[in-house]
C-alpha cells in the first residue's frame, strides 16, 4: 500500500530514542538556571474549609527564605486562572474548596529550607461540610460548592450542585418497540499518573516572563499566564522540553501561575516540582453514572436511545464542562440511531478539578453504551458481534444529524478485530470473550501552524507546536516533511516548542496532532516548495519547478539545480534560508463545538479474560485492539500508541479508582494505595489491527488514534466477564471484591466450570435495570 511513498508508512526509529536512553533527554525538572530558587506549595488536608488566618511571619524570617506568598499578597483582587474560565485562585482565597488546594507558597534557596518554611506557616482553618461523590453532591440539602449568589439568576440549578446540563436529541422515540432495556453503569474517578509530576521554572526579565514547563499545551499556558498576570502574549514565552507522560493531566496550567508569582516575588528564577502526591491531588478523570434506555426491533436494530449521565466534576471548572458536553455529543456511538435523547449533567464537588484524560469523557460513555449493546444482544438472542454489525453505520451514513457522516469502514474494522481474537473459536474453561467499539471526536474548529526552514545546505528545521509527550510527534513531522520535500529524515530537525519561535498550535491533544498539526507541516512544505521554485526561476531566468523525488529544482530547459544551490545563488554563499509557512484551520460551522468533526476516531477492542471464581480475580489473557488510522505515517509508532493506550484502559478496568472519604479527603494519593497496571498484569498477547484505507483528512490520508486503545477496553472486558460467568457487573473497576460479590449474588448463574462452550452460556434477558 505504501510503495508510492518514500518515507511515509515506514517505521523510522524514534528520533528522541537515543537521548531518552542515555540520559541526554532533558525534562523540565532536569533544568537549572543560575540563581534558581526552589518553590513549594502548602496544601492543607481539608476538602472544604474557611481560612481564618495564615501567619507567615516565622517562615518569612527564616534564613534562606526568599518569598512567602498567600492570596493576600497577590494583589488587591486575587488573580485567578483557568483554561475556559478564570475561576481558580492562584492561591486559595478565604476558602479551601478541595483537598490539596494550595493556600500558601514559598521560595527558598534550597529544597530543605523551602520545606522547613512551609512547616513554619501557621494556618487556621475551620473545616466545613464537603461533598465528594455524586450521591452526596446530589442529595437533598447537600452543602453547595458554588455560591448561589454568584450564579445567574435564571439558572435553574443555582441552588444545587449541578453546574450545567447539556441536552442533545433528534428524531421521535418510537412508541412501540419489540424490546426496551434500561440499565445504569458507573465509572470511577481515576488519576493520570504520568511518571513525571508537573514541573515548572519561571524567570522574569525586561522581556517579561519565561517559563519552562511540562505543560502539554504551551499556547494555552501562554494565554492563561498572560491573562492572569496582565501581560500581552508577546511577553510570555513558554518552552516545553520533553514531557514525561501526560495523558491530558498536564494539559492545563496548574503549578505555572504560582511559580510565576513566586519568581517575581523572589526576584530570581524559581522552580516548582510537584510531587506525585500533589499530582494525585490536582488532576483526575470525572467519575460518571450513566443510565441508558434503548429500544430495539425484533431484528435487534436500534429504534431509539436515551441517556442520562451525571459526571462528578471538581471544585473549579478546568475543562470539565467541555469534557461532559463534548463526550455526550457522541453518546449514541457509531450506531444508527433514528431517535436519541441525551441529557447529561456536570455535578460539582469538593474534589480536584476533573480534567482532560485520554478519551475526554468517551471511555465513560463507551463503558455504558458498549455494555448495553451486549445486554441487548443477549436479550435479543443475538451474537454480540452480530448486533453490532447490524447497527454500525456504513461509510457516508449520518451519525449525529448535521455533523460529519461516517468516514470509515467500521464493520470491516470490527470484523477484523473479532477474527484476530478468534471470536467463533471454542473458549477454554473459565474464560470469556468480549467486544466493544469506541468512538470519539477530535476537537473541531482548531488551528495549527508550522514553519519549515530550509537552510543553504538543504537541511531542514520544522517548527511546529506539538509537544513531545511520548507519542512520537517529532518523528512523525520529520517523516511528513521528508515525504513532502524529498529531504532525508535524518537531515530534518524538529525542535521542541518555544512559543517565541514556534508558530501557534491549538493543543497537543484530542488525537489531533498527526492530522491537524501534520497538515500544517505539510502546507508549510508546499509553501516552501513554491518559494524554492520562485527563487530558482529568478536565478535561472526562466520558469522552474521543484522535483521532490530528486530534491532539486528543474528549469524549463531541463537545467537542474539542487535545493541548496538555489538558495545560495539567490541569497549568497552560505546565506539565507527559505521559510515555508503553513496553517491548518479546522472547518467552522454552526454546530455545538464550533464546527464539524474533521474525522471520527473509531476503535475496536476484543478481550479474552480468565476469571478465578474463588477470588473474583479477572485476568485479561488476550487483547486485540483495532484503530481506524486512515494511514499510519509510522506504523510501529501507531501500534505503540494503540497498545499503550489499551493497557492504560486496563488500569481503570481492573484496578484504578480514586477513593475519597465522607469529608472529601483523598485517601489514596500515592502508588502504594492506587494501583496502576504493572508489567505482570500485561495480557499474554496484545495485538493491534490497524485499519488503513488512506481516507483520513490528515497528511497522506492519516487520522488520529492517540486515545483509541483506551476507550473501548473496559466494556470489552466487562462483556467477556459476562460471557465467562453469566454475571453482569455494571460498575468499574472490576476488582476481585466486586466481582466476587457479583458472582455470589448470581447463584442462578452457574460458573462455566471445566466445560468447553462455544457460545454464551447464559442470557440475561431484558430484565429491568435496577439490579445493577
Amino acid at each position: 500500500m505504501n510503495e508510492r511513498f518514500r518515507c511515509v508508512g515506514r517505521s523510522l526509529a524514534r528520533r528522541d530514542g537515543e537521548d531518552k536512553l542515555t540520559g541526554a533527554a532533558r525534562y523540565a525538572a532536569d533544568l537549572q538556571l543560575p540563581g534558581m530558587a526552589t518553590g513549594k506549595l502548602l496544601r492543607p488536608p481539608y476538602a472544604h474549609a474557611r481560612i481564618q488566618r495564615i501567619n507567615t511571619s516565622e517562615a518569612k524570617a527564616m534564613p534562606g527564605v526568599l518569598a512567602v506568598l498567600t492570596a493576600e499578597d497577590l494583589g488587591t483582587s486575587v488573580p485567578r486562572f483557568g483554561p475556559m474560565v478564570a475561576d481558580q485562585p492562584v492561591l486559595a482565597h478565604k476558602r479551601v474548596r478541595f483537598h490539596g488546594e494550595p493556600v500558601a507558597a514559598v521560595a527558598a534557596i534550597d529544597e530543605a529550607t523551602a520545606e522547613a518554611a512551609l512547616q513554619a506557616i501557621e494556618v487556621d482553618l475551620e473545616e466545613l461540610p464537603a461533598v465528594a461523590s455524586l450521591e452526596a453532591a446530589l442529595a437533598p440539602g447537600a452543602p453547595l460548592v458554588l455560591d448561589p449568589a454568584a450564579r445567574a439568576e435564571d439558572d435553574p440549578w443555582r441552588t444545587t450542585n449541578v453546574v450545567r446540563e447539556f441536552r442533545y436529541g433528534w428524531g421521535e422515540p418510537a412508541d412501540m418497540c419489540d424490546l426496551v432495556l434500561e440499565n445504569e453503569y458507573a465509572f470511577p474517578a481515576v488519576h493520570h499518573y504520568a511518571l513525571e509530576p508537573p514541573a515548572c521554572i519561571a524567570a522574569w526579565d525586561t522581556n517579561g516572563l519565561t517559563v519552562w514547563s511540562s505543560i502539554q499545551h504551551p499556547f494555552i499556558l501562554r494565554r492563561v499566564l498572560a491573562s492572569t498576570l496582565g501581560l500581552p502574549f508577546s511577553r510570555v514565552r513558554v518552552h516545553v522540553p520533553n514531557i514525561g507522560g501526560s495523558f491530558g493531566g498536564k494539559g492545563y496550567p496548574r503549578v505555572e501561575p504560582i511559580t510565576a508569582f513566586l519568581a517575581r516575588a523572589a526576584g530570581r528564577p524559581v522552580k516548582v516540582e510537584a510531587s506525585v502526591e500533589e499530582a494525585f491531588l490536582s488532576m483526575r478523570r470525572a467519575a460518571a453514572r450513566i443510565r441508558v434506555r434503548t429500544g430495539v426491533d425484533a431484528d435487534g436494530l436500534i429504534q431509539f436511545q436515551e441517556f442520562a449521565g451525571d459526571f462528578l466534576v471538581g471544585a473549579y471548572a478546568d475543562v470539565a464542562l467541555r469534557v461532559v458536553g463534548k463526550s455526550a455529543y457522541h453518546a449514541c456511538g457509531p450506531y444508527r440511531t433514528p431517535a436519541a435523547r441525551i441529557v447529561t449533567r456536570a455535578v460539582t464537588s469538593n474534589t480536584a478539578p476533573s480534567s482532560a484524560f485520554r478519551g475526554f469523557g468517551a471511555p465513560q460513555w463507551c463503558w455504558a453504551l458498549e455494555s448495553q449493546m451486549d445486554e441487548l444482544a443477549h436479550a435479543c438472542d443475538l451474537d454480540p458481534l452480530e448486533i453490532r454489525l447490524r447497527n454500525l453505520v456504513s461509510r457516508g451514513e449520518s451519525l449525529v444529524p448535521g455533523d460529519t457522516p461516517a468516514d470509515g469502514d467500521w464493520a470491516e474494522g470490527l470484523r477484523r478485530t473479532a477474527d484476530a481474537i478468534g471470536w467463533n473459536t471454542p473458549r477454554k474453561p473459565h474464560r470469556g470473550r468480549g467486544l466493544a467499539v469506541g468512538i470519539k471526536n477530535p476537537t473541531p474548529a482548531t488551528t495549527s501552524m508550522a514553519l519549515v526552514h530550509m537552510h543553504p545546505d538543504a537541511s531542514v528545521t520544522v517548527n511546529a507546536g506539538t509537544t513531545e509527550v511520548g507519542q512520537g510527534a517529532r518523528t512523525m513531522f520529520a517523516q511528513i516533511a521528508s515525504e513532502a520535500l524529498g529531504v532525508a529524515a535524518d537531515r530534518i530537525a524538529v525542535p521542541n516548542p518555544d512559543t517565541a519561535a514556534t508558530p501557534f498550535d491549538h493543543m497537543t491533544a484530542s488525537s489531533r496532532s498527526t492530522t491537524m498539526a501534520g497538515n500544517a507541516v505539510l502546507a508549510a512544505c508546499r509553501n516552501l516548495r513554491e518559494q524554492l521554485a520562485e527563487i530558482a526561476s529568478e536565478v535561472l531566468g526562466m520558469e522552474a519547478e521543484v522535483d521532490v523525488e530528486h530534491a532539486c529544482v528543474v528549469a524549463k530547459d531541463g537545467t537542474r539545480v539542487a535545493y541548496g544551490e538555489a538558495i545560495e545563488r539567490y541569497f549568497g554563499e552560505k546565506q539565507g534560508e527559505v521559510i515555508g509557512q503553513g496553517a491548518y484551520r479546522g472547518e467552522r460551522g454552526n454546530l455545538p463545538f464550533g464546527g464539524p468533526q474533521a474525522f471520527w476516531e473509531v476503535s475496536f477492542a476484543a478481550s479474552e479474560i480468565e476469571v478465578d471464581s474463588a477470588t473474583g480475580e479477572v485476568r485479561v489473557v488476550r487483547h486485540v485492539g483495532g484503530g481506524d488510522v486512515g494511514r499510519a505515517i509510522n506504523p510501529t509508532l501507531a501500534v505503540q500508541q494503540h497498545d499503550g493506550a489499551a493497557i492504560m484502559g486496563l488500569g481503570h478496568t481492573l484496578f484504578e479508582q480514586l477513593e475519597y472519604d465522607h469529608d472529601g479527603q483523598l485517601l489514596n494519593p500515592n502508588l502504594m494505595d492506587y494501583r496502576v497496571p504493572l508489567c505482570p498484569d500485561l495480557p499474554e498477547e496484545v495485538e493491534c489491527v490497524l485499519i488503513e484505507n488512506g481516507d483520513g483528512p490528515g497528511p497522506y490520508g492519516a487520522k488520529g488514534l492517540g486515545e483509541s486503545g483506551t476507550i473501548p477496553f473496559a466494556p470489552s472486558v466487562g462483556n467477556a466477564l459476562f460471557e465467562a460467568t453469566g454475571v453482569r457487573v455494571r460498575e468499574l473497576p472490576l476488582t476481585p471484591e466486586r466481582v466476587w460479590h457479583a458472582l455470589r449474588e448470581n447463584t442462578q448463574h452457574e460458573l462455566a466450570k471445566d466445560v468447553e462452550f462455544t457460545s454464551a452460556p447464559q442470557r440475561s434477558g431484558g430484565r429491568p435495570a435496577d439490579d445493577g
Binding site: 540520559g23 533527554a25 525534562y27 511518571l195 492504560m648 502508588l671
Partner: protein, 165 residues
C-alpha cells in the same frame, strides 16, 4: 541552615571517582541529579514502587529515591548515563531503539538499569522472568510489550556476542 552532620563520600559513579561532602539525610537521587548533574535518574513515586530512580549499587538495583547518599561510600553506582561505552549504545539501549520500547522516556533509565541487573543475573531470561522482574518498574506509556521484546532481543545479542558486552 538546617544543622545536620555531613560526611565525606568517596564513591565511584559510572567508573569515575568522586569525593563529596554529603548531608546525613541527603538522598543518593539528589546527589546524582543535583550535585553530579546526572539527571537520567528520575524521581516519580518517591516510595520505591515505580522504579524510575533505579540505579545499580555494586551491581544490585536500588531505588535512589530511598537510598541515603552515604550508603554509596566505597561502592560503585551505575546509572543510565554509564551504559553506553565509548559512544556505542549498550545492547539493551540498541534493542530499545529497535523495538520502540519507550515513549515519554521518563521510566526508561530506571527500566534499563533494572534490566541490566536482570541480564547480569540471568543472561537468557524467559518472557515470564522479564515480566516478573519488571514489576517494580512502572511504564505508563508503552503497555510494556515492546520493553519485553527489546529485553529478549538484547539477551539474544549479548549471548551471541559471548556474554557481557
Amino acid at each position: 541552615m538546617l544543622s545536620q552532620r555531613s560526611f565525606a563520600l568517596e564513591t565511584l559513579v559510572n567508573g569515575r571517582p568522586y569525593a563529596l561532602e554529603v548531608g546525613a539525610n541527603e538522598l543518593l537521587l539528589d546527589v546524582l541529579r543535583n550535585r553530579l548533574g546526572l539527571t537520567a535518574t528520575k524521581l516519580s513515586c518517591g516510595i520505591e514502587i515505580c522504579g524510575a530512580c533505579t540505579v545499580l549499587l555494586d551491581g544490585r538495583p536500588v531505588s535512589a529515591c530511598c537510598t541515603l547518599a552515604w550508603e554509596a561510600r566505597g561502592r560503585h553506582v551505575e546509572t543510565a548515563e554509564g551504559l553506553a561505552a565509548a559512544g556505542r549504545l549498550h545492547p539493551l539501549q540498541r534493542a530499545f531503539v529497535d523495538h520502540f520500547a519507550l515513549q515519554c522516556g521518563y521510566c526508561t533509565p530506571g527500566m534499563l538499569m533494572a534490566l541490566r541487573a536482570l541480564l547480569d543475573e540471568e543472561p537468557q531470561p524467559t518472557e515470564q522472568q522479564i515480566r516478573e522482574s519488571l514489576k517494580g518498574n512502572i511504564c505508563r506509556c508503552t503497555g510494556y510489550q515492546a520493553i519485553i521484546k527489546a529485553t529478549l532481543a538484547a539477551a539474544e545479542t549479548m549471548s551471541s556476542a559471548g556474554g557481557r558486552v
